[in-house]
């Protein structure tokens, strides 16, 4: 199809993308600025990246963020997949709507409230705030995202496959492990990536649940910026942007490819 784009279309597209990405592009450009003054361009340099890797406080925060991200996204994936499985498979039971509503509610709950309630919980059970509490908090809020992603895949999953597995001698767990899981793996993976990027991004919930012993990168950046923007922060942000971009792109590629393959297989299955 030879479709021509009108000037109007091109203009609105450009405007939209400019609105979205100019701030980030400026940030990335200035991260390569040789000058210490953030707003004055003084030639290209990777100096700030070098300095960044000398900065113990930032490195510590980065390490905490990575640990939290990996641990919480893995936990959230396990819990979210389980929740999705139960929701889709259990059929109708008393209070099903309430239960599924409760799983999805944290999606729309203001983060401040989630953070605050978690803080109160940790204080009341006497859990010292640190890496562990951030992991728990991130697991809590990202698991609903995972369960949304996984349950939409499970909804289109042919249940007779599981029945066939049971029929051939699998225990229900074995059927899940050797039939269901391999088939829904793409959805589980993209759920994991989503949870991981959410955890990297999070400032609000982390600031409620982190303690003096452990700070995440977003918190570090935020507090550093309050004392004035430094080129180091630009460099750090650039790195973060690339990680998140990579995560989001691979998540969408994984799920897109899986959907395309599923479509193809279904279509072929129909051509009996």
């Amino acid at each position: 199809m030879n479709r021509r784009y009108s000037w109007f279309n091109i203009t609105s597209l450009t405007l939209g993308f400019a609105f979205l990405y100019i701030p980030m592009i400026i940030l990335v450009i200035y991260s390569f600025n040789a000058s210490k003054l953030v707003t004055v361009w003084a030639g290209f340099s990777t100096r700030w990246y070098g300095e960044l890797f000398q900065n113990e406080a930032f490195l510590d925060a980065a390490w905490v963020t990575l640990k939290v991200g990996l641990a919480s996204s893995t936990l959230a994936t396990v819990l979210g997949t389980m929740a999705a499985y139960v929701m889709v498979r259990s059929g109708r039971f008393m209070g099903r709507t309430l239960f599924s509503g409760m799983i999805y509610a944290p999606l729309v709950m203001p983060e401040v409230i989630t953070g605050l309630s978690l803080l109160l919980l940790f204080i009341s059970i006497g859990l010292d705030r640190g890496v562990l509490t951030i992991i728990l908090a991130h697991t809590t809020f990202s698991m609903c995202y995972v369960s949304v992603v996984v349950s939409s895949r499970l909804a289109s999953f042919d249940q007779s496959l599981e029945e066939a597995a049971l029929d051939l001698g699998c225990t229900p767990f074995d059927a899940f492990r050797s039939v269901t899981l391999p088939i829904i793996t793409p959805a589980v993976l993209s759920g994991w990536l989503l949870a991981f990027t959410l955890s990297l991004d999070d400032l609000v919930i982390a600031s409620f649940t982190s303690g003096p012993s452990a700070t995440t990168l977003p918190i570090k950046i935020f507090s550093a910026v309050r004392l004035g923007v430094s080129p180091e922060i630009n460099a750090l942000s650039t790195i973060l942007i690339s990680i998140v971009t990579f995560g989001v792109i691979s998540a969408s590629l994984i799920s897109k490819r899986a959907i395309a393959r599923q479509r193809r297989e279904e279509q072929e299955a129909l051509q009996v």
Binding site: E163, I183, E265, V272
Partner: protein
């Protein structure tokens, strides 16, 4: 009927001392307030090839799923080998099912699909490959062993599903429309293959089919199901020759139904008054009708002969005009209109070439049949 070996015919259902392998005891299955299976009682015996026949949505798959363990009866019990299987989960039942939708595992190759159940059985690892080979060659798919299900055709998929359910050689095998997607030749081959397997392994088969010819070929008994109820359970020849209701007579094969009033003559002979100014039909019936009972005389088209002149040696004769001729190759079906307006179908083997056929449209012909050719049905 395919199992008649030697003198003793295979008919365990007629022997009251025989213990059934499967026994449905007043089983009812409801989905919400819809009754899919309605107070059904049925015994199926070991080594039977039991066919379920019925219109779409009558509950055949539901019956199978209860045997496999995917649905629990709302009421009643199902016994397998004298044991109530209600509390036994599907993976612990010595039952395998071939799904109507095949349910092949898309992430596994054809060979791995077939090996799936074997790997979870107590078969030694070393024997699994051999068994898979055997199954693949049985369904003629050896060269497709490493393909994925989406890389093979619909009929091939159906055969993989069949091989997968056969692989474990279960005590009871449930086949939900196992041969629907196969062409006629392959279907017949597979039917005989199934009967062969049945004879070799002594497996009990319960098979759902929409193809009555298939049911006739393979089954030891056929159950005609309608609205979740059994209408008749009998060997194929009984179902065909002695249907117990108009429904069964009509569902299996082609039939002419003539409604009339029964006039008992002698023993089990009846004169059926079906038309004011026509001689009554003389027929016989195993079960009794009182005088003037409404009855339906059912006769198969192939039992009605069609001739140009009035035959002298037949009990029943009637004259009519050829309305339509359906040429089916080996046989032709003639639709003959009687003076009363009723249309009777008569079938004749085409043992002559079509150009030399004796009747054509609008010819006046005589229909005739003997007094034992049809059955009398009350409803």
């Amino acid at each position: 009927m395919a199992f008649d070996s030697g003198s003793a015919a295979f008919a365990p259902w007629e022997d009251p001392g025989q213990k059934p392998l499967i026994s449905f005891k007043s089983v009812t299955k409801r989905f919400g307030n819809f009754t899919a299976i309605d107070n059904l009682t049925l015994d199926i015996f070991e080594k039977e090839f039991f066919a379920l026949l019925g219109p779409s949505g009558c509950g055949k798959t539901t019956l199978m799923r209860m045997l496999a363990g995917f649905e629990a009866p709302s009421e009643g019990t199902i016994m397998l080998d004298g044991q109530d299987i209600g509390p036994i989960p599907p993976n612990k039942r010595a039952v395998n099912m071939m799904f109507q939708s095949y349910a092949l595992f898309p992430h596994l190759s054809v060979a791995d699909n077939i090996a799936f159940g074997l790997k979870r059985s107590d078969m030694p690892k070393s024997e699994i490959a051999g068994r898979v080979e055997e199954m693949l060659s049985l369904v003629q798919l050896s060269q497709f062993a490493s393909r994925r299900p989406h890389q093979i055709s619909g009929g091939q998929r159906q055969r993989v599903a069949l091989a997968r359910s056969l692989a474990k050689a279960p005590k009871l095998l449930l086949l939900d429309e196992p041969l629907g997607a196969l062409d006629k030749k392959l279907r017949q081959e597979t039917q005989f293959e199934l009967m062969d397997i049945q004879e070799k392994t002594g497996t009990t088969f319960v098979i759902v089919t929409h193809d009555q010819e298939e049911a006739m070929t393979v089954a030891s008994r056929i159950a005609v199901v309608n609205h979740g109820k059994l209408v008749q359970v009998a060997p194929p020849d009984r179902i065909y020759e002695a249907p117990n209701s108009i429904y069964v007579a009509d569902f299996i094969g082609d039939v002419n139904i003539i409604k009339g009033l029964a006039k008992p003559e002698s023993d089990n002979r009846y004169a059926i008054q079906w038309c004011e100014n026509h001689a009554p039909i003389i027929g016989t019936s195993q079960h009794a009708f009182a005088s003037d009972d409404i009855c339906h005389f059912a006769i198969r088209p192939e039992k009605v002969s069609i001739t140009r002149d009035r035959p002298t040696d037949r009990t029943n004769t009637m004259q009519g005009k050829v309305l339509e001729i359906a040429y089916l190759g080996n046989i032709s079906t003639y639709h003959v209109e009687l003076p009363t307006g009723q249309v009777i179908k008569a079938q004749q083997a085409n043992n002559r070439r079509i150009s030399r056929r004796s009747f054509t449209w609008h010819d006046s012909v005589w229909l005739s049949f003997t007094d034992t050719a049809g059955v009398l049905l009350s409803q």
